[in-house]
């Protein structure tokens, strides 16, 4: 199996043999599929500008209304939403920063060194990816209770500091994108191993770090089940938990809820617009091949 590097995806030559008709069929398929994919986002923002009675009427609102301010006010009345967004952001940033550091380090260790036990240890690492995360849910909650970490963000970001997937991704990237000669040259120049990691490897793995960083950020931002067990108060809970608590109450204010939904998704959309090219290039080349 060929491995292309992330930095330089294989140039593809256009195919001259494609029948125009089948290409139009492909376009049509892609267009309608895309429409269906985007529709819920459209409704998300439209609903955020309407009140409850508008959202639940026939036909449902198809264009923006004028209730956004009211919804926003109600949202802040019911939950400390900016506080919750901040909690989500803090968690995601801490998880992402530590994951990038430790996974790049681990990936470098696996990619560039020969050492006793490398293969079995890497096999073990891969095997941990197949273990369902829910398997340790109950003891996880107990450990956090024992450590006194309930209701603190470190209960989530400390265990999440390094991931098997991240090390796997980084090993693939470093192994293909960084020439061994460069490492040797740094050694001859007298750099320590950690110095090589910091001065040579870290700067050169930026493209892969963008991919891993985005995936980690999104996963952390979206996590629900673990925070549900760890966070118990309005002040400490994250944005998804706040949305859930808004939905759970008997007389749901749908306008306010939709406003919260939009606020939760907007940061991800912005991040995606900035980093999507990098993310897709990173995921489609080299990194994830079975």
């Amino acid at each position: 199996m060929t491995v292309s590097t992330m930095a330089a995806p294989q140039p593809r030559t256009k195919k001259a043999t494609v029948v125009p008709l089948s290409r139009w069929a492909a376009y049509l398929l892609l267009f309608f599929g895309g429409l269906l994919t985007l529709a819920p986002f459209f409704f998300m923002f439209v609903f955020a500008t309407h009140d409850r009675s508008d959202i639940f009427q026939l036909p449902p609102p198809l264009w923006f209304g004028d209730n956004l301010q009211e919804n926003y006010r109600n949202l802040l009345e019911r939950t400390p939403f900016w506080r919750n967004l901040w909690n989500s952001l803090y968690l995601a940033v801490m998880t992402t920063a530590t994951t990038l550091f430790f996974c790049t380090m681990g990936g470098f260790g696996f990619a560039m060194y020969e050492f006793r036990g490398r293969e079995p240890l890497f096999g073990l690492l891969i095997a941990t990816m197949l273990i369902p995360g829910t398997l340790n849910l109950v003891p996880f909650a107990l450990i956090m209770q024992a450590l006194g970490w309930i209701d603190t963000p470190r209960a989530l970001w400390v265990p999440g500091m390094a991931s098997a997937f991240g090390i796997f991704l980084m090993r693939q990237y470093i192994g293909t994108a960084i020439p061994r000669e460069l490492i040797e040259a740094a050694r001859i120049d007298g750099a320590t191993e950690f110095g090589i990691f910091r001065r040579v490897v870290l700067p050169l793995t930026k493209p892969a770090m963008a991919t891993l960083g985005l995936v980690t950020f999104v996963q952390s931002w979206n996590s629900f089940l673990l925070p549900l067990i760890i966070f118990r108060s309005d002040q400490t809970s994250t944005a998804p938990l706040a949305l859930r608590s808004l939905q759970g109450i008997a007389n749901t204010d749908w306008g306010a809820l939709m406003c919260g939904v939009a606020l939760t998704v907007i940061p991800l959309l912005i991040l995606f617009v900035i980093a999507s090219r990098q993310l897709i290039a990173g995921l489609t080349s080299g990194a994830l091949k079975g």
Binding site: L30, T37, G109, P132, L137, V138, L243
Partner: protein, 324 residues
């Protein structure tokens, strides 16, 4: 790698230090993961195994654990709700899993063969659902699936009046989240919507890894497009399929957020939206029975393990580790 240095008869202190740190540096580099895994992965897993043989309520403190042998397992296996949750999970995994791949493969091929100019944009659009908050999007779908006033029923009913294709769509409104028979398709729809793009990206990566020379050689040998697809694309896409299906399988059997939000935490009418992880969560939090919950997860793990093995038999070669 260290050969040139060690052959020298005497080593300077600096060279010795270099050798030493070079030898142990990789262990230092990879240790954070293994330490974290030992503390927050392996230990809890072993603990949950231990817990699954105990009768224990978390609120009463660690001292009140009582060994009960296999009772938690037999209790689960004789609990009709557990079986129903497992059945629901299986149905949901199949209903949401198979369409994902059946849509993603042609989609990936369409993107792969379409103009390069729109490729990135199209991929980005399809990938968008994957990066949005599951809870947020489940809330949106909750309103879209609303019985009397939901956009989905409105759209389906409108399509029913269209000539020719009309009969394919229902004339009556479907009570998506209130009818035991409709809850699972509704949940599956959300999951398909969310993960098809992710799978498309995986398949796109697989397609791009197939060397173009193979197609050129096949063309010279006179293979038509179907034969090229059948004898080059499909076999070479197998490792990707294996990985994608394995990920869907593991994900599908741990469904929680989507059914939880769509049924408002209740499991829906007739409990048809209750997945095993939801039931486990309920057993742990509402019934406060940690041992029973732990045993339930181990039973689920057993099911996932068997299915992964089966999947391995059908698609697998080297699996996730892959040869690169």
């Amino acid at each position: 790698m260290q050969a040139p240095l060690t052959h020298r008869p005497t080593l300077s202190l600096a060279a010795r230090w270099n050798n030493f740190q070079r030898r142990y540096a990789p262990y230092l580099f990879i240790s954070p993961f293994f330490i974290l895994f030992a503390a927050f992965g392996l230990f809890p897993i072993l603990f949950s195994l231990y817990l699954s043989f105990q009768d224990w309520q978390p609120t009463t403190g660690l001292g009140s654990m009582k060994f009960v042998g296999w009772r938690n397992y037999t209790d689960n296996l004789t609990d009709p709700t557990f079986w129903q949750s497992l059945k629901n999970t299986l149905i949901l995994a199949v209903e949401s899993g198979i369409p994902q791949h059946l849509i993603a493969i042609p989609l990936a091929i369409a993107i792969h063969t379409s103009l390069r100019r729109i490729q990135n944009l199209v991929t980005a659009v399809y990938f968008l659902p994957y990066i949005t908050s599951i809870v947020a999007i489940s809330v949106i779908f909750f309103t879209l699936f609303s019985w009397q006033y939901g956009a989905i029923n409105a759209a389906l009913n409108a399509l029913h009046t269209v000539p020719v294709i009309g009969p394919l769509f229902p004339a009556e409104k479907v009570n998506w989240l209130g009818d035991p028979g409709a809850v699972q398709p509704a949940i599956a729809t959300v999951i398909i919507w969310r993960y098809t793009g992710w799978n498309t990206l995986l398949y796109l990566a697989g397609l791009q890894a197939i060397p173009r020379e193979l197609y050129e050689a096949a063309q010279i040998d006179g293979a038509n497009r179907w034969q090229q697809f059948r004898f080059i694309t499909l076999p070479l896409l197998r490792p990707t399929m294996f990985m994608a299906v394995t990920l869907s399988l593991i994900g599908g059997f741990q469904l929680f957020e989507e059914p939880f939000i769509l049924t408002n935490g209740s499991g829906g009418p007739g409990q048809t939206g209750l997945t095993t992880v939801m039931y486990m969560y309920r057993t742990y939090t509402a019934y406060s029975d940690a041992g029973l919950a732990a045993a339930m997860v181990w039973l689920l793990f057993l099911v996932i393990g068997v299915l992964t093995l089966l999947n391995n038999r059908i698609f697998g070669r080297s699996g996730l580790a892959g040869r690169d």
